[in-house]
Amino acid sequence: MSQPVDSILLKDETWERVDKATGGAAAPCFQCGVCTAICPLGLVKGETISIRKMVRQAQLGLPGWADGLWECTTCLWCESRCPHEVNITKAILGLRQLAWKEREVPEGLPTLLWDIYFDGNTWGRPPSERPLWTKGISVKEFSPDDEILLYVGDDAAYDRRIQKVARALVAVLEAAGVTFGTLGEREPSCGDAVRSVGHEEYAAEIIDANSRLFQEAGVKTVVTVSPHSYDMFANRYPNLSGEFRPLHYSQYLLELIEAERLKFENELPLKVTYHDPCYLSRRNGICDEPRQVLQSIPGLQLVEMERSREDSLCCGGGGGRMWMETAAGERFSDLRIQEAAETGAEVVVTCCPHCLSCLEDSLSVVGKDKLRVLDLAEVAHLALQSQAVTSDAASGRS
């Protein structure tokens, strides 16, 4: 810091552009730096990125791009500690929005947006392949008489690993006698990927089109596989009617358990730890529901990691990071798997496709025979299946 710094000229015009793009989100910041101190990038990088500086940039309209602008996973840890309640991710996404206008975005992100534009999904796969996840089971088209619309999402529809989560969820919903359907090939991308890489205008178009689609289809309760879709529907779809009720599936499973429609009667002797997805816990305060679902399974033992609930450590996949490369040694999920292994759990359970992908990718760190990663829906499905084999599991446990 001892080097002389050139003076920077502030321009009203730049300030106005930045202020508009960030919606003035940075204005309340008084530069205390808690955000930089808490940012989990400090756990994996020798020199952490300065969130404070980024916010300052947004505040003053400083020219140039802040270091680390694209490294933010929008995990919201900074905001959770900010004494002035600055909407820091809004400021960061606003700066990303300007980067799109200047065409200064990381390699691969334009392709992501074109994939969504042309194919309606983040994978660049044909829309006709969207219902392929249902292979071997039958899932009907949604009708307004159904209790819920199951919103599968791009990951569970296309990613073969996450498809298993969707199929497990279907089995659980069927066991509870829920009437549901999906939008099949018509199901759109929820817009989270677009929003999280900062293309606010395109995200607004997607939100508008999807809102109309949901209204025309007569959707009231929508249950999502991904917390990211849930967050979009719950917080960023302003034009839907009061009857529109978005739920993450962990919330819905708990409703089913409380209504005694979903019952786990036999034991599932498993020691598990639960990894809170940021988009459920910090962003939406949903920490209890998934845990209550787990605790309703007899025989299942839930142990906690030190960083849990609103203090969960991000998997590294949010904020568009799934479509950007994270250097080896800088992946939060490596740390997270280590933390999960230290609890002595056999399974780390989560309920977000991004978390599942990242955690499984990092599993090699501790070795696959010691730990498994499962989705909450898969654990629930396992628990239901254990009913079929009478109570052998329980008696064999002692």
């Binding site: 691969g108 334009p110 392709t111 074109w114 994939d115 042309f118 194919d119 994978w123 660049g124 796969r125 296309y158 990613d159 073969r160 690993r161 996450i162 799934m322 479509w323 950007m324 490369e325 080896a328 992908s357 499984e360 990718d361 090699s364």
Partner: protein, 340 residues
Amino acid sequence: MTKSLYGAKEASGIWVYLEQSQGQLEGVSLELLGKARELVEGQRIPIVGVLLGDQVGGLAQEAIAAGADEVRVADDPLLSQYTTDGYAKVITEIILDGKPDILLLGATPDGRDLAGRIAVRLRTGLTADCTDLKLEEKSGLLIGEVWGFGGGIIAYIKCPDNRPQMATVRAGVFAVPEPDPARQGKIVNVPVKLAEKDIKVQVLEHVVGGGVDITRAEVLVAAGRGCQGDFALVNELASLLDGEVGVSRVPVDEGWASRDRMIGQTGYTTRPKLAIVCGISGAFQFTVGVEKAETIVAINSDAEAPIFEAADYCIVDDMFNVLPPLIKAVKKARGGNGGR
């Protein structure tokens, strides 16, 4: 729109930039001459090659044999190495003198560099990285086919008003024409007005790196964690099949391979005719980068590995058991050639 330095009425002929290095013409330059001949078939449109370098005049005859009617040679010691400054200055003057209607360059690193620079100087458009060229039927305008956005769309681009109509074309898109040593053509030496002070970059050393473009490989042999850093067999099989080596993320993380070989969501999307995937479990983030292959052969010791769901042929075994007999069989099938 900015007006180009000369207009369509004054312009004529198809010009091809003849890129040379170390006394040899680049294959793509010959390919462009062949394509240019095909485009003008039956019409009286001259095809002119532009050759820059130091003592490169001997290559002009080769260009004529490949289809040029005329070659303009700028020979100067200051052009012995490619520099953006030197080459852009000289070729711009040659173009302003000759006023070509169309100017084609190979989409090589130097060709791409030069094309952008001269397009700006001439105030004209540039269709970069074409995968095909056509002439529009009535207007005779050049149409460049460009694959955009990771193969998501094909765009046809023309440059109706400004001249020259410029395009760069990737190597290997067109065939190298059969040389016709009997072809006659004119060789014109053009004066070079270039001083040392015009070149701001001094080339200290010319090193050709092992750059790869796995997105264009017809055969990919891909390896992951299962290879444990041992690429000997993988390399051997890839070169036997005239293919490239690709990798999943683990070899990049481990430092076994460079990122330009990485297949997948944060790497490259490939579409080879054949992909042999060895020791890669096949997370979808990898698979999505190879799924457009015509045929996928997967080799993995874990029968539950998800890669098998994407594969056309599945071999459940350690890659180190499978590759040696496979390599032997390929060599045998190649028979008398003794491999390559």
